[in-house]
Amino acid sequence: MACFLAPMTEAIVTTVIQKAVKKKEDSSEGKETVNKIPLSDKLRWLNGMLWGGSGLLAFEHLWHGEITPFFPFLTAARDPADTAEMLHEIATSGSAMAILVTAVWTVVAIAADKLCSAGRPAVKKAGASS
């Protein structure tokens, strides 16, 4: 009914976090060099999957007539019984979608870090004495 709203909400939150992390990384650039992919880059992957996936799911809901271009935008919001069912679906299917995407992203991010550190010789923190 509107399960895509859960990953879309997560996408909004992670986009804000990604912007903040990117800002922080830019301001501390050059201070330290570690053998890892920047967190902001990894968060960009998560944002891409969440925005892309929920966007295509929103199109599917439009296809099935569950979203309308006029208020209240969700057809299930017109009837209280349908609204309750919709909220239940967002809480169950929607949350499961968001959790699965985040879990897959976590695995990919850890694997990418491992590959990155295995491919390069260890880089010590700048300024560290030998």
Binding site: W45, G48, G52, G53, G55, E60, S93, A96, V101
Partner: protein
């Protein structure tokens, strides 16, 4: 059917992204995000449907399959349109910019 088509699109775009540096320059990664994200989400939908309907889930009516196929093709078309728009905005090869500049010169 929509899930299957999206998974195929995700796998194909991943292979293209992996083997072609030109594809990576042309921001094929955007397709990867969209197709993998949607595939994972529709997988959850499919599991929920399977838990509710049981084995009947694997025997859809012909009309449902046709509608889902049509939806799958439309989803892929939409993703490709989004990618092309992103490509034109980012213009990684500078084609659009150089074309506009050359028109300005004339």
């Amino acid at each position: 059917m929509t899930l299957l088509m999206t998974v195929f699109a995700a796998v194909i775009s991943t292979i293209i992204w992996y083997i072609s540096s030109k594809a990576r320059e042309l921001k094929v990664g955007v397709l990867l995000y969209m197709f993998w994200g949607a595939s994972l989400m529709w997988l959850v939908d499919a599991v929920v449907e399977y838990l509710e309907a049981g084995a009947e889930f694997f025997e859809p009516a012909a009309s449902d399959m046709l509608n889902d196929t049509f939806l799958g093709i439309s989803v892929i078309a939409l993703a490709l349109v989004v990618w092309v728009i992103y490509l034109l905005i980012k213009d990684p090869a500078g084609t659009l910019k150089s074309n506009i500049l050359s028109r300005k010169d004339h």
